[in-house]
Amino acid sequence: EAHMTDTSDARIALSNNYAGNSWRQAMLQSWEDVTGPAVEEGIVAAADAYTTSENQATEQAAQIQNMILQGYDAIVVNAASPTALNGAVKEACDAGIVVVSFDGIVTEPCAWRIAVDFHEMGRQEVEYLASRLPEGGNLLEIRGLAGVFVDDEISAGIHAGIEEFPQFEIAGSVHGDWAQDVAQKAVAGILPSLPEIVGVVTQGGDGYGAAEAIRAAGRDMPIIVLGNRQDEMLWWQQQRDESGYETISLSIAPGVSTLAFWVAQQILAGEEVPKDLTVPFLTVTQDTLDETLANTPEGSVANVEYSLEDAQAVIAEAQGEM
């Protein structure tokens, strides 16, 4: 590693557009847990997190422009929009700043992207249901926030899954805005007009709300694909213990922010990093439920934090593919 540049003077900023749910809080927590020691050990000089007050691309663009002025060497960004920050990101690149986007990635070519295959995530939900319910049936789809990239991607994946497994049909679709109470309300509203539902495909953060609504309506509990929230998994565990309920839970781990941190550090250190990296999403199965639940703080989200070595492994793998 002789060619590596010293990054102990480098300052890295996290640009975050939203802090209003448990996933984002876990993400910020992971960032603090991982970057704190890194700064103490002198690996980097600073790793500051910034959150905008409203979940809006324009505000985040301004935030990134401020980071340029503050003279950060790298900006790690979870973007409100894949395209609307491109102007600001380009300005950062032009100022010689390394920009690494993750989770909510940006399309500006000068930035790095740590992407989750949301499309595949949606498809796998249907695939799992097909394995459980070969004869198929009616599904209820709970979408996220309309007009947001991730919502569109997962939904597209789910619909691709339905094409692959035509025994399923989407009987109803509601927007739950990735919030339990909104999802609960939307599901409660559409349920009365729906035929029997065998499965619920979700985007994470809304499974528990769906379960509550279905329970309140006195219907049989379908297979609800969950999204790694602790309360969902706890509910799953209880259901399993009571009636042998089986399902699957998948979502992106909030700790991916720490991966992005290390990637940014590696780029600053002079490592050749491909522009596109992929992280797997985190899947919890019947077998891993108890273990995952035990490791997840009450009210939080199942998480994985990345170390420098993990990051190097991810980079190496991507380099291999080049």
Binding site: D177, V182, G189
Partner: protein, 312 residues
């Protein structure tokens, strides 16, 4: 009948009934009970915060509370954190939620009265601080409500959801206060012309103070109930009640210019706001179309209600 049509609140109820009928007709009548039950449950939350917002809007132009969502979140978060799912702590949680409401109301009014900030800006700015407080206090962790409380908030009595009973009781109280009490008259007088009201002997600042306290306490209560109802507080749980609380007031037929409010209309509008989304979801309308139709229907109701009022 014509006297009934002249009442501005009738339109929100008619619209709600129509949305209900259209949804149920999709399944040939099956699920009507379920839908009504759901509408009452979810309508209750909108109705309770809506009634608070109505009181504030009645205070006259420029009066509105934009901190309702943040207050709900803060009250829900702190109450559930304090209860920590322990049985027998429901009353303490309620007390905490109400205390949060009181504190928020005090703070809001202090900004409005002492610093002379326009309420719209004062409550908006303060709500950001409340949100920070909620984040800081438990970082958005979802803690389950105690079992008894969860059962109460999701349960029913005489086939009507318990939260709807709470909402109805509050509606009755608010109606009596507005229509039959000195305090209600004072509120409406203040809303029409604060200066004239003051000169007529109305203690206008006391009225304004009490109103801003009332809206915050109702928001706190709603936060507590909603968090218990949906299995825990979330940082974004109040978000949709910002526009919702204003929408139910104006669809319900209260005068947005102040001085005239309408309690039954708030409930009608709360039911309508739930049912219209359910209806459009049931018909499979995509998000864009759903929004366009919701907006069009809202404007339609307002036009219907106001042209009738002009004619009579």
């Amino acid at each position: 009948m014509s006297a009934l049509i002249a009442r501005p609140w009738i339109w929100s109820w008619l619209a709600a009934a129509l949305a209900f009928a259209l949804t149920v007709s999709l399944t040939g009548g099956r699920g009507a009970g379920e839908l009504a039950y759901a509408a009452l449950s979810f309508g209750a939350f909108a109705a309770i915060v809506g009634m608070g917002q109505m009181l504030v809007i009645t205070l006259g132009p420029g009066n509105v509370d934009l901190s309702i969502p943040a207050t709900m979140t803060l009250a829900g978060t702190l109450a559930l954190k304090a209860m920590g799912s322990d049985p027998g702590t429901a009353a303490m949680g309620l007390a905490i939620a109400l205390a949060v409401g009181l504190g928020v109301g005090l703070a809001n009014f202090a900004l409005i009265y002492l610093l002379r900030l326009p309420p719209i800006i004062a409550t908006l700015a303060a709500s950001l601080i409340y949100q920070s407080l909620a984040i800081w206090s438990n970082r958005g962790l979802r803690i389950k409500p105690p079992e008894g409380l969860a059962d109460f908030s999701t349960g029913r009595t005489l086939a009507v959801p318990n939260v709807a009973w709470v909402g109805l009781a509050i509606a009755v109280v608010v109606w009596v206060v507005l229509e039959r009490s000195t305090w209600g008259r004072w509120l409406m007088a203040t809303g029409q012309n604060m200066r004239a009201a003051r000169l007529a002997g109305v203690p206008v600042q006391r009225v304004r103070f009490a109103t801003y306290l009332a809206v915050a306490v109702l928001a706190g209560l709603t936060g507590y109930l909603l968090a218990s109802f949906s299995g825990g507080a979330a940082l974004n749980m109040g978000q949709e009640y910002l526009l919702m609380s204003i929408a139910v007031v104006v669809i319900g037929g209260s005068s947005i210019a102040g001085g005239y409010s309408n309690v039954p209309g708030v409930w009608g509008a709360a039911l309508f706001m739930f049912l219209v989304v359910s209806m459009l979801n049931s018909y499979g309308a995509p998000a864009g179309l759903r929004l366009v139709l919701t907006g069009t229907i809202i404007i339609g109701i307002v036009i219907a209600a106001s042209t009738r009022r002009v004619r009579t």
